[in-house]
Amino acid sequence: MTTPILEIRNLHAGIEGMDIIKGIDLTINAGEVHSIMGPNGSGKSTLAQILAGRDAYEISEGEVLYNGKDLLDMDPNVRACEGVFMAFQYPVEIPGVKMTQFLKAAVNSIREHHGKEALDAVELMGLFKEKAKLLDLPNDLMKRAVNEGFSGGEKKRAEIFQMAVLDPTFCVLDETDSGLDIDALRTVAEGVNTMRNDKRGFLVITHYQRLLDYIVPDHVHVMVDGKIVRSGGKELALELEDKGYSWVDEKLAGAAG
C-alpha cells in the first residue's frame, strides 16, 4: 500500500481557548482531488491555515501526516519546501517586495532544500513567463509589488500562478473561487486542472458548488461546526447545491434525535 499524501487523524484545534476543529479525519492519496464544503464559520479556512503552518492555532489533539511525516512539527517554510502549498483566501499585499524578487527567493529556497542548484535570472524568467501564460496574467504583474493593487481576480490568479511555479505535491485552495467572476473562475480552474496528475493531491475548500463544476473532485466532504459530517462523491456537491446546508443540518438533527 502506498503512503497517502495527507492523513489527518482526529484533529482538534482552536484559537484562544475556543475550539474550532473538533475531530477531523481525512486521508488524501496521490492523484486525488478532495473538496471540503461547508457553511461560513464551519472551520474550513482554519483547517487550511493549520495545514499551511499558521502558528496562531493551538492543536489540542490528533496529528497530521504528510507523506508519512509529522506535518505539524514542521515550520511553514519547511512545509513549503517539502511540497505543501496553500492558495490564500485573502492574499496579502506586500508593498516594496516585487513579485519576481519574492518568487525568485521562494523557488530557490525550495530548490536549495532539495539540494538543487539555484536557477539564474534567465531560467527563472522563462519559468515565470510560461506559467503566467497559463493563468493569463498581465505582463506587468510580475514587475509589481506582491499582490499590491491587484484586483480580486488578479490576486486569485496570481495564487494559482505561484502554485504552478512552485510545483507543489499537495495543494490547498482556500476559497479560491470567492470574489471571482465566471471568466476568472474558468481561468483559475483550468490552471488547477493542468496541474492535476497522479502524483499530486488537492484539497479544494469552497463555500459554493460552482467551482466544482470546473474542478471536478473525486471526493466531497461536508464540514459543519468543526467536523466532517458527510463524505461522498462529486454528486454530494450537487445535492448540497440543490438542498442547501440546512439539509445537512436537518439530517444531523434527525440522526441525533
Binding site: 515550520d75 517554510n77 513549503a80 496553500m86 512552485l166
Partner: protein
Amino acid sequence: MTTMTQNQTMRDNSWLLTELPESVIEHDAARMPKWLADIRRSAFRQFTADGLPSAKQEKWRQINLRPIRETAFGLPADGATDVSEAEVVGHSLPFVDAVRLVFVNGRYAAELSDARAMPSGVTVQTIREALKSESTILETHLTKYVNADDDPFVSLNTALLDDGVVVHIEKNITCDTPIYLLCITTAADGPIITHPRNLIIAEDGAQATIVEDYVGTDGEVYLTNAVTELVVGEDAHLHHYLLERESDAAFNVSTLTAYHKTSSTLSSHTVLLGGALVRNNVNPIIDGEHCHSLLNGLYIGRGKQHIDNLMRVEHRKPNCESRQFYKGILTDESRGVFAGRIIVSRDAQKIDAVQSNQSLLLSEAARANSMPQLEIYADDVKCTHGATIGELDEEALFYLESRGLAEPQAKAMLVHAFAGESLERMNLPVVQEALLQMLTQRLPFTSAANV
C-alpha cells in the same frame, strides 16, 4: 609635510567644551577677514551665554546630551594626516564621475581629494581657499540663513568654523557631476570635535547634486558638528544627500538649512546609520511661491544608538508644497525620535504640506517617538501628518514563509521593502546601491539572507 606650529602645540591641550578658551577664536582671527572674525566672536558670545542645551528646552527634550557634556573634546590639530589613499577609497562611495573633496578631522586634505575640472559656471572651493580669493560669496551668504535660536551647536559651529566647502553654481548652469564631500574623523590623542561648514549657492535656474558623507574610525569617540547652508535660486533644483555613518561611539549633530526662492526645488535625502548620539536638523525656509521641498529620511538604530530628527519646515509664501517622509528602523535598545514642525505664515495660503513618519521596531527594547507639530497661521492650507510605529506585519511574514522562505529571509525581505521606499525616492544610483549594501550589513536578519 607640515612642521609643528605654535597653533598645534596649543591645541594639543584638551579643553572642555563648556570652557572653550576665547584665545582660540582670537588666535584664528589673525588670519581671517574682519567680517568673519566678528561673526565668530559674536557666535562665540552666543554659545557661552547659552551653554549646551538642557532637556528643559523643547527642541532638546528627547535627547540626553550628557555623553557629549561629559566628554572633554579637543580641537583637531592643523597639519598632516595619517590617512592613506587606500583608507579613503575604502570609505568612499564608488562614484566614477564625482568631484571628491576629502576632509580629515575637519581639515581639507588636498592630496586625498579629486577636484577634477568642473564645468564652467561651477566653482567648488574650500572655505579657506574662498577667503583668499576675490569671491564675495562667503561674506554675502555665510550665516545669513541658518537659525541659531535655541541651538548652541549652530553657534558653536559658527564660532569655530574654519573649513568646509563653498559651492557656487552660476545662473542656468546644470552641474551633472555630483559634488561629493567625504568627511573622515580618525583616531586622535583624545576625543576631538570638528565643525564642518558648507555653503552651497545655486543661482537662478541652476541644478546640482551635493553629497555629504560622514565616516570615522571604528570605535573612536568624537563629535562632528556640521552646518550646511543651501540657497536654492529661482527655478533652481538642488539635490542634497547626507549620509551619516560615523563610528558607533561617536556623536554627530548636523544642521541643514535650505533657503528657497521662487519656483525652486529641494530634494533632501538623509540616511543616518552610525553614531551613538545623532541629531539631524533639517530646516527649509520656503520664501518664494511655487516651491517644492522634499525631505526624505531613513534612520537605522541598533545597540544603544539614539537618533533624533528635528524638521522645521517654514512656509513663508503661498502656493508651495513640502513633503516630509522619514522612516526609522530600530532594533536592540536603540531609540529613534522624529519631531516635525510645519510653520505656515499668515500669508502663505494654498500650502500643501505632508508629513509622514513611520517606525519599524524590530526588538522589544527598541523605542520610537514621533511628534508632529503644526503651527498654522493661514486659513486656506492643506497640512497632513501621519505617524505609525509598528512591528513587522505577521500576515506578510506568514505569507512569505508559507512560500518557502525561512523566517530570517522573510523578515529581511520585509525590512528591506520598508527601507526601499526611502531609497527609491533618491536619484543617484551609486548612493542607492551603496546604501542597499550598507543596509544588508547593518540590519538584523539580512546579513545571512540573500535578498
